[in-house]
């Protein structure tokens, strides 16, 4: 009995979605809820679980095809009848790469004649890949920023300036698996073909190639400040947040050449948002130094119990969230937005927490943070961070933030000058928490300290107000009392 897999609706206003990657192929067994395919929509990219257990018998919508919500994209047969292994998976292979012309055998008939492909014109700047080999990340530069659309697949065939990259389906598959744009690969095969050797060599050597397939990206619209995983850096203390290094290109192994690497959709969105934010808000950053002794002690006292009860480590995040909440309550302008000549004060206090992923970042939102006590905030933050890392966030959980907290300190930055997450008006960046020598009662003391940097929109917040806000944050943190909080 067949189950239809449909294009889900990821949000009320979303009418269509693009399949970016099939995680299973026709003939594969799939469990219920097992990730089946990835989609990209206007608002969010997501991994879609299988609605049923069985064998994936048909794929009706191929990668990089866009269909309306509720369109059937695949079929699963629950009776476990496996498709014959040889059946090719229907995918929108483009006719772009013309088959090699038939040979005129030049040698005696005993030898096999190897077809010689027609000579390939020299590539030019507008060259496009011939098929959807590049996968979700790699759109031709001319494409819309919103993500793959059905027009992509058509465009590739009537193709740019007609340049076609010769390569076999095998090579295209390897390229896709490694997020490589074949335009960047030099082909040493006949007629400029990219051979298996070429693509494998490129993958092995190319420093800008991500080492692993891109995990599904769940981003907000707009995209927040790039930031690092949530706090740790107290000496000898552990933190729940991942301390994985960000993906940065390693020093070029191939000095002297340039490589053209198109941006992934997430990267493009981040790039656009950063510029947009800078142009929109009048960014000013004010920095305060906060003594973290009380927070540190409180955390240490409660860490074991929290971990026992919740299975996750207690981080510093909930402390900063609570402090921010207290300050916002006192200075509601920090929970507002600018709309033309109006200031929109939002009622809900939703604090976004920036979490770094392997290839990007995501900002899950603690909704109604003002209605939660410390424990509630801690649990929510822990849950969101864990599900952010395992890509199980819901669309709603990355929406609706009114204030953002980020953590440049995880890699040791003293403080940053974060970019505001539009349409908010402020963002709080927490620097590294480390022991420093400070003056207390005219004597030198060693205390755990942190710089907190607040970037705010000077269109609606003046320096004095920003500083008062930060004084409140500082006061809350330095006088942390469980009884109150």
């Amino acid at each position: 009995m067949a189950t239809n897999v449909i294009m889900p609706q990821m949000g009320e206003s979303i009418a269509e979605g693009t399949v970016t990657k099939w995680l299973k192929k026709v003939g594969d067994n799939v469990e219920r809820d097992e990730p089946l395919f990835e989609i990209s929509t206007d608002k969010v990219d997501a991994e879609i679980p299988s609605p049923a257990a069985g064998v994936l018998t048909k794929i009706l919508v191929g990668e990089n095809q866009t269909v309306a919500v509720n369109v059937i994209v695949a079929e699963i047969d629950g009776q476990g009848s496996a498709v014959a292994a040889g059946e090719p998976e229907p995918s929108p292979q483009q006719a772009g790469s013309a088959p090699p012309t038939p040979p005129a055998p030049s040698s005696p008939p005993v030898s096999g004649g190897i077809p010689t492909p027609a000579p390939v014109p020299a590539p030019d700047g507008d060259a496009r890949p011939t098929s959807q080999s590049a996968g979700p990340g790699l759109q031709p530069a001319a494409a819309s920023a919103e993500g793959a659309s059905a027009d992509e697949s058509v465009a590739a065939t009537d193709g740019g300036n007609g340049h076609k990259i010769r390569s076999s389906p095998l090579v295209r598959r390897i390229a896709k698996e490694n997020q490589v744009d074949l335009r960047s690969v030099k082909g040493t095969g006949l007629g400029g073909r990219i051979s298996k050797k070429d693509i494998l060599a490129y993958v092995a050597a190319g420093p800008f190639t991500p080492p692993a397939p891109v995990p599904p990206q769940v981003t907000t619209q707009p995209v927040p400040v790039p930031s690092q995983p949530w706090p740790q850096r107290m000496p000898a203390s552990q933190s729940a947040a991942q301390a994985e290094p960000l993906q940065t290109p390693s020093p070029a192994a191939w000095a002297g050449q340039t490589q053209v690497v198109p941006m992934t959709p997430m990267r493009k969105q981040i790039a656009e948002h950063m510029i947009l934010s800078r142009r929109t808000s009048a960014h000013v950053t004010t920095v305060f130094e906060v003594e973290m002794t009380r927070v540190h002690e409180t955390r240490a006292q409660n860490a074991a119990e929290f971990e026992r009860r919740n299975g996750q480590k207690l981080t510093f995040t909930p402390f900063f969230v609570r402090a921010a909440v207290e300050a916002i309550k006192q200075y509601p302008i920090f929970n507002a937005s600018v709309d033309g000549d109006n200031v929109i004060y939002k009622r809900d206090l939703n604090i976004g927490i920036a979490v770094a992923l392997e290839t990007g970042l995501i900002v899950p939102v603690v909704k109604h943070a003002d209605e939660k006590n410390f424990l509630g905030v801690a649990r929510t933050v822990t849950d969101l961070a864990e599900r952010a890392r395992s890509k199980r966030l819901n669309f709603d959980e990355v929406q609706g933030g009114t204030f953002t907290i980020t953590n440049p300190g995880v890699f040791g930055s003293l403080f940053g000058t974060p970019i505001i997450n539009q349409p908010q008006v402020a963002i709080l960046g927490v620097g590294v928490i480390e022991k420093r020598a400070v003056v207390r009662n005219d004597a030198i003391a060693i205390r755990p300290m942190a710089y907190l940097a607040l970037s705010f929109d000077h269109r609606v917040i003046d320096g004095a107000m920003a500083d008062q806000f930060m004084v409140r944050v500082k006061t809350v943190l330095e006088n942390w009392s469980e009884a109150v909080l």
Partner: protein
């Protein structure tokens, strides 16, 4: 362990089966008194007697027909074709009787028809053919083509024990030219399974019979140029080891199909189709065939040399394919 030639290994295999199973007997032209045109059955008449080593008139049709009849009565005849080229005279008995009796009315026909095939000895058109495809195309038969002495013994024993009619090709060029260490024990090599004759990474050469050696020679040559050939020895053509073929193709992504048989209707066509059907997405280059051309086998030695695939032709094809 003795070192035996291809021919001696086959003899030993038949001998052992004759000893093991009294229902096995031999029938063919000149196999008894003369010991066989190539001496495969030398000594067997003396050992096993005229009841079990039967010299016949020159009539392949009668020979095969008698064997089929004996098989239906519970014997396990091993028929020798003096040259596999003559098998055409017994064609009807093979394809219409032997191949179809089990399907049509039940009893098994456990005969083996064995004989020398192949070219390279200036035998001319009637003593040099590779006609295996006539029988690969006949459902109900099995077709076996060993390439090594070790496999020849193991496969002849397995064929004699098989309850189906088996056509067993022995390449005359290999009879005395190749040797192997042959265990004296009762080992068999299963029908229907290929063997990796040489592991490689760049191009898979799928072949059988004497051409396995040709491929190995080419591989040695190409190793020096940095091209790594994998050589798959099919050993059986019907049934054949499709999985082994596909596995090798998937690994190397480029394939050369090599046989001494002529091109059209040769086994390479079947393999090319299966590879294209089931491993299309694993290919990084066109499927290439290296075969004899579509003519009878020439007698003239230079023409025969021109006709036959050889290591140079395989290497040339491999170089082109590697550069594709």
């Amino acid at each position: 362990m003795a070192v035996l030639t291809h021919l001696e290994a086959i003899r030993q295999g038949i001998w052992e089966e004759m000893e093991r199973d009294p229902s096995v007997f031999l029938i063919g032209e000149d196999i008894g008194v003369y010991g066989g045109a190539f001496k495969v059955t030398q000594g067997m008449l003396e050992k096993f007697g005229a009841d079990r080593v039967i010299d016949t008139p020159i009539s392949e049709s009668a020979i095969v027909g008698a064997a089929v009849g004996a098989a239906l009565m519970g014997m396990r005849p091993v028929v020798e074709m003096q040259f596999m080229d003559f098998i055409a005279c017994g064609f009807d008995q093979i394809v219409n009787m032997a191949a179809k009796i089990h399907y049509r009315w039940g009893p098994a026909v456990p005969i083996v028809i064995r004989g020398p095939s192949g070219a390279g000895v200036h035998g001319g058109p009637y003593h040099s053919q590779s006609n295996e495809m006539w029988f690969v195309h006949t459902p109900g038969l099995k077709v076996v083509v060993p390439a090594t002495a070790y496999d020849a013994k193991g496969l002849i024993k397995a064929s004699i024990r098989d309850n189906n009619p088996v056509i067993f090709y022995e390449h005359k060029f290999l009879y005395r030219r190749i040797k192997d260490e042959i265990p004296a024990d009762d080992y068999i090599v299963p029908l229907g399974k290929a063997r990796v004759a040489r592991e490689g990474t760049d191009i898979s050469v799928i072949t059988y019979g004497a051409m396995v050696w040709t491929a190995l020679d080419a591989a040695e040559e190409l190793e020096k140029e940095g091209i790594s050939l994998e050589v798959i020895d099919l050993r059986s053509l019907l049934p054949y080891d499709e999985d082994a073929v596909l596995e090798s193709v998937r690994k190397c992504s480029k394939v050369i199909l090599l046989h001494e048989d002529t091109r059209i209707g040769g086994f390479a066509g079947e393999l090319a189709a299966v590879i294209a059907e089931r491993a299309f997405d694993d290919l990084d280059g066109p499927i290439v065939r290296v075969t004899a051309p579509d003519t009878p086998v020439p007698f003239s030695p230079p023409l025969e040399e021109y006709f036959l695939p050889n290591a140079k032709k395989v290497a040339d094809a491999a170089r082109k394919l590697a550069a594709y």
